[in-house]
Symmetry: C2
Subunit: 412 residues, 2 copies
């Protein structure tokens, strides 16, 4: 029998209890033994809830109970999760977590401590919610060099962008709707400014490089500047605007960014709508593979946590040997990364503006919208961000051009 | 060091050699040891090819070499693959295979023999080519009851249906094109009549039930009756026609079928085009998750085989405990399975035909195409196949109705 403890009885924690109860027989068959939740750590009490019987307010009860072989950390945030997890591992207990902040900030160190203590540190639910992605990268994509990882990693922003695109509703109103539906926090910064996606692409890029890609080093741009007008241009190009976490690994050079992108209709990421997430991997032999599912939500996330519980229980005292070292992975300067951009230009004189675009960017393929006045858009050729920025500066000096309304990377 | 032998130097076999050579360093790092291909079994010789040095024509060379710990079976077909694989397992050698016929026909028995001999029988490449799906089902979806599996499991037919849908080219011409491109065999029956997809859904359904779903028991309908007119009706409904392998597992009742279906635009399977495959799983906690990628092709398939090689080498003499017993899984009578169908009606008198449809099926939601004469279509409510068939019989007796041109299941 495996005895476990759950840290945190919030959304994911209560989901873990629910999944374990609903699918008890199946889970214990897969784990090849009974699995007993002995403690739930929470500051609060839950009178009337059956969980109250196993609630503890004192982490030491769990840490010092040698019966507990596995700690499930679903509190979120770096503190005190980090110290709880670290002490559990040092005490020879495996840890499963859904906590992307913790994994992005301390994953490599915790993995090393787990290995040193012959236990496991697993984190399937930290990226893509219920989507199996961490284990497939570690266990299935073992014969391929990963050349790129591109993900729709945040359900809240994907819901908002989908609604803006399909219903033509402005950003502010869509944000309000997402907040009312409980998809977005009252302070939505972590989602809409891309920080959540940034933690997740940092984790995926670290697994791909087997080194630590620091989330602080990743260029991160959110969706706050995206308008329904941008979306109409994207649609004119046969694409959709998505918030993408992306990392590239070709020719030994590594880069990563979070930014909105115009995803073409032929890219499978273009059909990932609403709160769904997806991760597209490009392998040098496999080509494209994509993993799609619910990137958040109580039960899908809890399901991923419980799949880690099954794995940890099956591999008691056998470290699964996930490769992710504490060595820092250097990233390319984002200005050196090659992109193509959709550029929206505001003009005072259309003909002059077009001829300027033609002179500077070499294109006269101009996109116009029916109901957008004094503006057009065009798509640049591929070039480094630096080179494109320089040319954009040049545009701004042209007669007939008032300004650049927005630029959005093309995803292909 | 792991010493392995490859049975068959055809498309997949030569792909395995190429993947092992191209990504040697990475693969040996994941396998945590050097991996040496000592033999390639083939009836032919390959003068000038470096593989010639390790070619053998005699399987006993491999079977009796105690150094060989792993046999990679990529010959295809049931004979002699079955006897080769069985004897390898009985001799304490693990086996990795891409052979869906073998796995569908003898998977459970071979798995038991592997377990009895403390080795592994792995078959990631047998379904979905390069898409990680077998290992995720066995290792990741361990906390969920799988309620349904729906897959686009055959690249050839998906290529053909995509081309018919987007270019309006007729079945016969598209088949010729697929044959010229090498996607379809000269005798295309295995693909276009659904037998290939049938083997694959049998494997997936067996893993989901942990019993043996016999492919012979699965109702199988191919794409030979699908026309571009059918596709226009599907498009009018906002959907696309796909060949689907599908199995359902709700309330302890199991059913499976292979048949074309009208997949709605909101279903992620609808955007799986060309030779790509995808498998959509529905878990009782997870909801929908989808795995997408290249379902065939030399390198993607070989990549999946090599991921099995890595797994087998890492788990020498540790049986991975895949649950799939030889007990036969009884299937529901296909006539009892509940569906909704798109029905195309040929009429001699339109008004009479419509009022008959309304009387028998209770719908006056009639679909008409601009360039299709003397016909319309409608979508039935959900009912058992038997009930729908009985009502279709009734339609045929109506005044004003000449015949039923086609019926296609709605997938939602």
């Amino acid at each position: 029998m495996a005895v476990i403890a759950v840290l945190g009885y919030g959304t994911v924690g209560s989901g873990v209890i629910e999944v374990m109860r609903s699918n008890k027989e199946l889970i214990e068959s897969k784990a090849e033994q009974p699995v007993n939740i002995k403690y739930v750590l929470d500051l609060r009490d839950f009178p009337g809830d059956p969980v109250q019987e196993i609630i503890t307010h004192n982490y030491d009860d769990i840490l010092n109970d040698s019966e507990v072989e596995l700690v499930v950390e679903v509190m979120g945030g770096v503190d005190p999760a980090y110290s709880f997890v670290k002490s559990a591992l040092l005490n020879g207990k495996s840890v499963c977590t859904s906590n992307k902040e913790l994994v992005a900030a301390h994953g490599a160190e915790l993995m090393r401590i787990a290995k040193d203590n012959n236990v496991n540190f697993l984190f399937e639910a930290s990226v893509g919610g219920g989507i199996p992605i961490i284990r497939p990268i570690n266990r299935s994509i073992t014969s391929d060099k990963i050349e790129a990882v591109t993900g729709i990693l945040n359900g809240t922003t994907n819901y908002m962008l989908t609604k803006m695109g399909t219903e033509g509703i402005d950003y502010d109103e869509v944000l309000k709707d997402a907040q009312e539906k409980g998809y977005a926090e009252r302070n939505p910064a972590a989602d809409v400014e891309g920080h959540d996606a940034c933690r997740k692409i940092a984790i995926l890029a670290s697994l791909a490089t087997e080194k630590t890609v620091r989330y602080e080093d990743i260029y991160t741009e959110g969706i706050t500047n995206i308008s329904t007008t941008d979306m109409l241009y994207a649609q004119k190009l046969g694409g959709k605007i998505k918030l993408l976490g992306k990392a590239g690994f070709e020719n030994g050079r590594v880069w990563a960014r979070v930014a909105p992108g115009v995803v073409s209709g032929s890219n499978p990421l273009s059909m990932v709508n609403d709160v769904f997430n997806a991760i597209l991997l490009k392998g040098n032999m496999l080509g494209d593979v994509m993993f799609y599912g619910r990137g958040a939500g109580k039960l899908p996330t809890a399901s991923a946590v419980v799949s880690d519980i099954v794995d940890a229980v099956r591999h008691k005292n056998i470290n699964l040997g996930i490769k992710w070292s504490e060595d820092k992975q250097e990233l390319m300067d984002i200005d050196d990364v090659v992109v193509s951009k959709l550029v929206r230009v505001e003009y005072s004189n259309k003909d002059k503006a077009i001829s300027c675009v033609k002179r500077v960017f070499g294109t006269d393929n101009i996109l116009e919208l029916e109901n957008a006045y004094d503006e057009f858009a065009f798509v640049t050729d591929k070039a480094s961000e630096r080179e494109i920025d320089m040319k954009l500066e040049e545009l701004l000096n042209c007669d007939g051009i008032n300004g650049i309304l927005n630029t959005i990377r093309m995803e292909g």
